[in-house]
């Protein structure tokens, strides 16, 4: 496939008609440039992050004290449903698409994605889905069946109003957008790599995005099909999931999407960590092949563990044991990755900047999220902790402590490439430490709350010993976290205008995106060198120690 590529800018021609479309709003609305589409994804995600964050803060105010009446239970239910749905589908997924779109062509030395128009379509339909979902607030009430919308609670008999309909249709649209984005990235990675770059030589972020995109292709259709069935149930009296159908069937559909979804979100974060830690430690990634192969293992395993979300529905013991064991197995490839990241740091010359701080935050917090995750694979412990605040704490450790921290590291690392300027390191320190304190303050105590018997998704709770105190700590932590996000937004706004000028390769990094100007020209590269190893810029700078000279480095 590599012989399709040219020495120099490669990729589809479709962009060139548009690339000089000028500045202004129209240039964004009409763009098919992967970088602009990528940035639009990222801005959209930031916008919805604020929406979902405000929803979270409202919930935390309600839960700050026992027996609170700040929100009605109906309002609370809408907020937690929209918070979960927004954060997963409109923030995390969209951020993944944004970074993937922006970075992949640059990292593989291409001038755009394989199907630029499809790419723009994917963005717009995702945005449209997001708007549609949130329009439900104005159309008589947002959905309130939780982000996994269990039937029959999500059916008209128990959920009147149109909120759930907006939910199904909105998610169907973002689902279509996500699938097109994934297809596009797969084809891009397989066909548009720079001359010489073998598939085993792509940066690990690209590799992980490839696996993520494959997971999307296999997992999202289960959700999309489920959504169509749910819609038929709701509007046409279908009998898929109601009392004449099977409520458990919906759970199977949802979680055979939902569990791979976790990895769809976390693999790109792994990818970012795998780029940033080596550069900041000044060493190549330790065990590239093992990091890459363990990703494939996670990809396969992720389709065989969905029933661990359903251990309490009354499965037979044989199913319980099978799915418990398969879920635990995921710890193996994940552990391999963790050890390799830390081993990469070992013996390095570590630069402790904000990007690296976020990587370290990721390592510790994600591991803790993984450790508590074992509780849900060990079936009897799942029975004790599922549907309590313990599980809320657990998945926020993986999603915020892991994914968000990795994305923050990514933001500090690639912002110079995207904008041409560095983010302020001083604000960055504030950003990092406030986020660490706010995040752990919010969620660490929730483990204890869960173990003390507090169920999740309750709009108010009785005044049992310690519950009030722990919830108050959690609420204060949430506001600290919210403030840290504001610091980040402030840093971005400040640095876009006044940040230090970055230059093409401020970190002295080794992958191809740092060869382009900052920000990259519309066609990305003037010339792409022939690629002989995983670190082409290292090779260029250190011909004596070039990776391709080493048997394991190429």
């Amino acid at each position: 496939m590599t012989d399709l590529t040219l020495d120099g800018p490669v990729g589809s021609d479709a962009t060139h008609e548009h690339e000089d479309g000028g500045e202004g709003l129209l240039s964004w609305v009409s763009t098919v440039d992967h970088k602009k589409v990528g940035l639009m994804y990222i801005f959209t995600a930031l916008f919805f992050l604020v929406v979902g964050g405000v929803e979270a803060l409202l919930m935390r105010i309600q839960l700050a004290v026992p027996n609170n009446h700040f929100l009605s239970p109906q309002m609370y239910d809408q907020l937690f449903t929209m918070h979960g749905t927004t954060m997963i589908f409109l923030v995390a997924m969209v951020l993944v698409n944004g970074f993937g779109n922006y970075l992949i062509p640059l990292m593989i030395g291409a001038c755009d994605v394989a199907f630029p128009r499809l790419n723009a379509f994917g963005y717009w339909i995702t945005l449209f889905g997001g708007i549609m979902l949130n329009y439900s607030f104005l159309a008589g009430g947002a959905p309130s069946a939780g982000w996994f919308a269990y039937a029959p609670l999500s059916l008209p008999a128990y959920n009147t109003g149109t909120g759930m309909d907006y939910w199904t249709l909105g998610l169907l649209m973002t689902g279509i957008g996500t699938v097109t984005a994934a297809l596009n990235l797969i084809v891009t990675i397989l066909t548009l790599r720079a001359r010489g770059m073998r598939i085993t030589q792509v940066p690990l972020f690209v590799w992980m995005m490839l696996i993520t995109s494959l997971l999307v292709i296999f997992a999202l259709p289960a959700l999309n099909a489920g959504l169509v069935m749910l819609f038929v149930d709701r509007r046409m009296h279908g009998m898929f999931f109601g009392s004449h159908g099977s409520p458990v069937l919906w759970q199977h559909f949802f979680w055979i999407f939902g569990h791979p979804e976790v990895y769809i979100l976390v693999l790109p974060a792994f990818g970012m960590i795998s780029e940033i830690i080596p550069v900041m430690s000044r060493k190549p990634i330790f065990g590239y092949n093992f990091v890459a192969a363990s990703t494939v293992a996670i990809g396969f395993l992720s389709f065989g563990v969905w029933a661990h979300h359903m251990f309490a529905v009354g499965l037979w013991n044989s199913a319980l044991i099978t799915f418990g064991a398969s879920s635990m197995l995921i710890a193996v490839p994940t552990g391999v990755k963790l050890f390799n990241w830390v081993a990469t740091m070992h013996g390095g010359r570590i630069r402790m900047n904000t990007a690296m701080l976020f990587c370290i935050g990721f390592l510790v917090q994600f591991t803790f999220g993984g450790v508590t995750g074992m509780t849900f694979a060990i079936v009897p412990l799942d029975w004790a902790t599922t549907d309590t605040y313990f599980v809320v704490a657990h998945f926020h450790y993986t999603i915020i402590g892991g994914i968000v921290f990795a994305m923050m590291a990514g933001a500090y690392y690639w912002f110079p490439k995207m904008s041409g300027r560095m983010l302020s390191e001083r604000l960055g320190r504030w950003n990092f430490w406030l986020m660490v304190i706010g995040f752990n303050g919010t969620f660490f105590v929730q483990h204890i709350l869960g173990l003390l018997g507090m169920p999740r998704r309750v709009a108010s709770y009785p005044n049992l010993p310690m519950w009030g105190t722990l919830n108050m700590i959690s609420t204060v932590g949430a506001f600290v976290f919210g403030f840290s996000v504001l610091v980040f937004v402030g840093n971005v706004l400040y640095s876009v205008f006044y940040g230090e000028v970055a230059g093409d390769n401020p970190w002295d990094a080794w992958t191809l995106e740092w060869l382009a100007t900052s920000p990259p020209a519309a066609h990305n590269f003037e010339r792409v060198p022939y690629v002989r190893s995983r670190r082409p810029l290292w090779d260029a700078k250190n011909p004596e120690l070039a990776d391709w000279r080493h048997p394991e480095g190429g």
Binding site: D77, S144, N317, R349, L363, I378, P380, T386, L464
Partner: protein
Amino acid sequence: MTGRIFTAGSLLGGVPTSLFSPASPQARSVYDLFMLTSGVMLAIMFFLCAWIVYILVHYRARPGETEDPVPVYGNKKLEIIWTLIPLAIVTVFTILMVPTIFKTHAEPDGRAPDITVIAHQWWWEVRYPDGVVTANEVHLPVGRPVLLALRTADVIHDFWVPRLGPKQDMLPGQTNYLWLQPDHPGIYDGTCAEYCGTDHGWMRIRVIAQTQADFDSWETAQLHPQMPDSSALAQEGGQIFTRSTCTNCHALVDAPKVAANLAHHVTIAPSLNDLGDRETLGAGTLDNSPENLAKWLKDPQACKPGSNMPDFHFSDEEVRALTAYLWRKSH
């Protein structure tokens, strides 16, 4: 919270729904497994953190160090070691998990359930084979495993009494089973643990474990519910009760009847027999007392917003009469 039996001890164990004070063989085996695996996992966590701290102390770039270290690409032996170690750990965990599953989740093997619990949005119906029907609290004898059959009348709910063991979903069209075996007489707090709509948070349940003798006398009393007070106020309350549509939803025996008929009463809402015996009203929303009963009758929606009990806009007079009529205690 009088009459509660706490396992004395740590702060965490002092919470009535704490997993740290298991009170049945099932809960204890889960607790033991939790402590064991948590210990192992925390050790791994500690090791990783210690390694990172070591690295940060030793391998930070010092000012002036601009040279990059000579590349190291990996080490196969190490990779194999840190693949095998987690594999060994999860294998051990799997082996430990299996007996606990069987201990806590024994199949009923055709045995008839001792008690049937039917979840409703947002309260619990509790039925006994001899026809006793009560609500929101499960009386049972200690000293032997009691088999609960769990069903739902509407959406998915989940029966969970943390100190007594696992939680178990209740699904439409399906019966699930759960064993309860409290060590000692006492009151064990629990809750619905699967989100089931507006009042999910106020769908609390209590297990009241009694000695066999106490349980037997409770059950006998339930089979012969108290009759209303003969006072004029209670009589008037009875008329209001019949006049309003209460009996469309609630069962209440107000003339001595054959006990077995109890079971055939409507169960859209909690049975109101011997209402004064219960500890709470509205599935844990209010402590039970004549005052709170009056408060509930005056405006149930203010007490438990969203609940399926309509507000009848009774006057204070009517509320007083109804309270006198409904407040009956068997002991």
